[in-house]
Amino acid sequence: MGLTGRSTGWNVIEDGLTVRKEHPEDRVIALAGNPNVGKSTVFNRLTGLHQHTGNWPGKTVTNAVGRCEYRGKGFLLVDVPGCYSLMAHSCEEEVARDFICFGGAEGVVVVCDGTCLERNCNLLLQTLEVTRSVVVCVNLMDEAKKKGLEVDTALLSRELGIPVVPAAARNGKGLDTLLAELDRLPCAGVPEPPVRYALWAEEVLKAVEEKLRPLSLRGLPGRWVAARLLDGEESLWPAMEGFLGFDLRESDEGKAGFAAGRERIEAQGKTLQDFRDEMAAGLVRRAKELAARAVGRNKGDPTLRDRRIDRWITGKWVGFPLMLLLLMGVFWLTVVGANYPSQLLSQGIFWVEEQGAALFRETGCPEWFVELLFHGVYRTVGWVVSVMLPPMAIFFPLFTLLEDLGYLPRVAFNLDRAFQKCSACGKQALTMCMGLGCNAAGVVGCRIIDSPRERLLAILTNNFVPCNGRFPTILTLIALFFLGGAATPFSSLLSAALLVVLLLVGVGATFGVSRLLSATLLKGVPSSFTLELPPYRMPRVGQVLVRSVLDRTLFVLGRAVTAAAPAGLLLWLMANLQVGEVSVLTWCCGVLDPAARLIGLDGAILVAFILGIPANEIVLPIILMIYTSGGMLTEPSGTETLFAILTQNGWTVTTALCTILFSLLHWPCATTLMTIRKETQSIKWTVAAFLIPTLVGVLVCFIVARVGSILGM
């Protein structure tokens, strides 16, 4: 599971940065931990809100990097994706493992959940086997206390021989001590192996380690390398080779080590499998022992409350209706809340446009330039901002709250059976949730899925979930054609309900296509599946609001500049350059019109969808612009005007329905496509991701259009 605040902080679209030390004195510190332990809170608390995403050399991943200072010394914190084990099972875990083992960090902070120490100790112990330069941060001490758990951090520290800091990062408690301990790294003392395996296995390790001694392992502990040599963990080796500069398994020492280990194992009447089992079991045993000694319980069952809540949330009869209700509630609040700020923003933005254009004209700029700059580029950007920002600024915090509460994994838990039937992974439900916000984020989120086949399924179908960028178009059309345009509280509730229905169509398409792909292009059976259901946790509402509104604003603004501005330029040129008698835009509409009519649209709508590739948000404005034959986007205007423009251009209920459906089922936006290309490393699958939803959309719209014309709607 990777739904940490970071990966769904929706700022995961990487920009190709590397961990750059602005100050050469800075020490790089990796921040590791299981998912959902408040790692990102620690990160944000330490670095302020100045988080930016970045890569580290070698692999395109997003490790957030931030800087903090303590007593004049700088630390560069790298927020590594959450993982349960260094034996990576998913792409995301691989990223984490590679950074912890080979990233060259000068220290590692392992953040643990104080309410669930035993589980967290596994990663901690594995990390300690790789490096002794570790500070443990036992987070959520306040939660633990509430649950009647007492964590003896001093005992842990003595047992492990490293600093252990109790913290409640949400309240900023313990973080100063954490920094002080980081400052003192690396700590002195002869390292005692954190885990003692069974005697026979220890002997094996010693024998292998002995053979590896002549090699330079660049600081990696021989014991750890010896264990991995016998481990048979394939995905580790490319990274290991990159780090060491040679392939250990092919080196003479490596071969000798493996042979010696094998011989030792067999001499003791064991098999290689027994040894591998012991490597896993030793960790679990030690974790259990540590937790048993360090955690005291002074109240009854600390999990009783969670189980009670689960009885409802994952209840047989309540679970699904509750899910739909929650979704509808989120949509409704978004629709209702976004209305007014949207109007205000657009007024402000268009006022600036007028003033700016006037100012430029006065300074003697050529008229075409002013037109292009203000009515082309600026207006498109303004549209995107005013239409997108308010719904996103409401939708995201609400969603983040649900996420922080621990609700989303339950959705996956409830729905997994259905995904299993399509030979897909239940965690796809999580990536679909992310897709609701932004498909590109959803595609990146697919890294949490272990099996490459299932991950690809999730990536290819993510676009069937309508992202925030498509909500405004869909909602406007729903309001105009299916609710009579009246803006009453009841009608907004109804449009939220219709949006949920539409979403279910998208989910249906996801299942259908996943199933089809599993039977054809991506043949395979469902692979193993483990999903943690974390404890429910009261989110810090204020913090979530500030963070996600801030995140969203930056995201929308960034996107408006990078995607909408060029689109606006192109649009303006197309609308103002002539082919014979008509503009390029009108000409294109004419060419596409016959094809578009077949699927219930018209040329203008299809052109708008094509021009909307950089940003889905501008589809409706482009349609209106073409209809009003203006050389620029129209201002967002009242519902009656909108309705009049559309109906005058031949829109019927069928047209509206087809447009809505096509909006749900068509190609992904440019950002998503680029992300898919990056994530799959394959042009072929990127093309597939473009074609699959488009074909489904054409098919569905064709059928709807035929039925509509028969019914005479």
Binding site: Y84, S85, M87, H89, C116, L117, E118, R119, N122, E233, R276, D277, A280, A281, V284, R285, A287, K288, A291, R297, G300, D301, P302, T303, L304, D306, R307, D310, T314, G315, K316, W317, G319, F320, F413, N414, L415, D416, R417, A418, Q420, G426, D450, P526, S527, S528, F529, T530, L531, E532, L533, P534
Partner: protein, 95 residues
């Protein structure tokens, strides 16, 4: 001889002790990583509304597994205690 009991046969509220894992390769290590090693206690805490997957309390965390995977975890023969919301002696307090 009594048939082997596996994890997937546990009903809500029932517990068992892991005997061995029959899965191989990565799944095996995955199951071990979440704490399913020989002698570990497991409690079945919640069956999902569609019957699959099932959530188990393992090592102080709640982890959902599909029946397909849970079938590959064999439990010790001795019958697990059926618990009415109480913790097993010395075990983790899940119910």
């Amino acid at each position: 001889m009594e048939a082997e009991r596996c994890l997937s046969q546990l009903g809500e509220g029932q517990s068992g002790i892991v005997d061995r894992i029959s899965a191989e390769g990565r799944i095996r290590r995955r199951l071990q990583d979440i704490g399913l090693i020989e002698g570990a206690e497991v409690v079945c805490v919640r069956v999902s509304p569609l019957g699959d997957p099932v959530a188990y309390a393992i090592c102080g965390a709640v982890i959902a597994l599909r029946r397909e995977d849970a079938r590959q975890v064999t439990l010790r023969r001795e019958a697990g205690k059926t618990q009415g919301g109480r913790a097993a002696e010395g075990g983790r307090p899940w119910a």
